[in-house]
């Protein structure tokens, strides 16, 4: 198994150092950020396998940063905090944190919780792959394979197939799809959708004239199978 990257967002230099030494000596690659802004940027530019986040940051509160991260970051986030207040734990977990450790923490426990969180991530039952017939969609890697072969999709094409895949079997109205992919204000641009559905079908259907995956529901929208 290749080494995994962990991003640490903490403003206390001695904690950062301690974490870095502990984690690196256990085979992880460590990247460090000391402010919310810096942490968010590093996470966005090069998403790590998991994030250790301190709740008591100087610029933006850790709770706020957690919310922002969770808008797109799906891998584990473990919260670190000197606060042992119950409310903080609850709030962080409800906002999508995977786990919580109060400082000072025991390094053994820290490592165990990191292993546990990463294992879940890689466990087969948490597989981010959505399969539909000969198609496999990896929502994390943003890739689409057909019979194991990688298909080249544009950003919009991928967004569209991912939306379909997340709503398998459900009829999605034109308006809903347009709102989700292009945003509010595009709900009447049905032709955009027709063009992209045709392009997708050309790529994923064995017989684009008789589509099996993207079925049109005339007058309503489309359904993915």
């Amino acid at each position: 198994m290749t080494a995994q990257e962990i991003l640490i967002i903490d403003d206390e230099p001695q904690i950062r150092k301690l974490l870095q030494i502990t984690l690196e000596s256990n085979g992880y690659i460590v990247r460090l950020a000391s402010t919310s802004k810096e942490g968010l940027l590093m996470a966005a530019n090069h998403p790590p396998a998991m994030i250790l986040l301190d709740l008591g940051l100087p610029d933006v509160s850790g709770h706020e940063l957690l919310k922002q991260l969770r808008e797109w970051y799906t891998r584990p986030i473990i919260i670190l905090s000197v606060l042992s207040h119950e409310e903080d734990i609850i709030r962080a977990l409800d906002n999508g944190a995977n786990d919580y450790l109060t400082k000072p923490f025991r390094t053994g426990e820290l490592l165990a919780r990191i292993r546990s969180s990463l294992r879940k991530e890689n466990a087969p039952e948490n597989n981010p792959l959505i399969e539909a017939g000969d198609l496999q969609i990896d929502l994390v890697a943003r890739t689409l394979k057909r019979n194991g072969e990688l298909l080249k999709l544009t950003a919009t094409e991928y967004n569209l197939i991912a939306l379909f895949a997340r709503n398998e079997g459900k009829v999605l109205t034109h308006q809903f799809i347009l709102k989700e992919i292009w945003g509010v204000g595009f709900q009447s641009e049905t032709q955009y959708l027709r063009v992209f559905v045709a392009q997708l079908r050309k790529k994923i259907e064995s017989d684009p004239n008789h589509p099996k995956h993207i079925v049109t529901e005339s007058g309503v929208g489309y359904r993915f199978c």
Copy 2:
């Protein structure tokens, strides 16, 4: 959302009682086991949505039970223990526990951790079905199945069967149906309705000449059964 079952495996009666009261008052269905053997059997016979497991059980150690459970049980397991020893936490997490709480625990934190663990499990939620004999109507997915097989309906046909399904057993007048499906101003277009009822019957009735689902109430309207 339907209530979720949580299996508690703990030998201390007062803890079992406390957990039961706390969880039931928060909308969960609680099932209790006081020994490893009993817990394993209950989990196997009717797998719960998650398991709360005490490490200090009398017959087999909680660690051993955790291992046995993890051979097949993939849903969340949260460990409870009076032992605050670091080694126990590490061992349990490494053996596949999802989370860990030391007694005495705060109920707010317990509930937050339960919600956090269950959230992932419940991501793809199943839709409520309206069933009528061999028909299943999924109002969310906008689909109609007959004996599990998807039927192809036009938008108006689907709107009509959905209206019927939402008013099962009730006689709907021509005027009411026309108003609901075509809108005000179409209340006198009874012929539209006849055409579409005939089309629907052709698709959903095993003998369209003697309809069982869409029954005509002569002079009044139709009734769906």
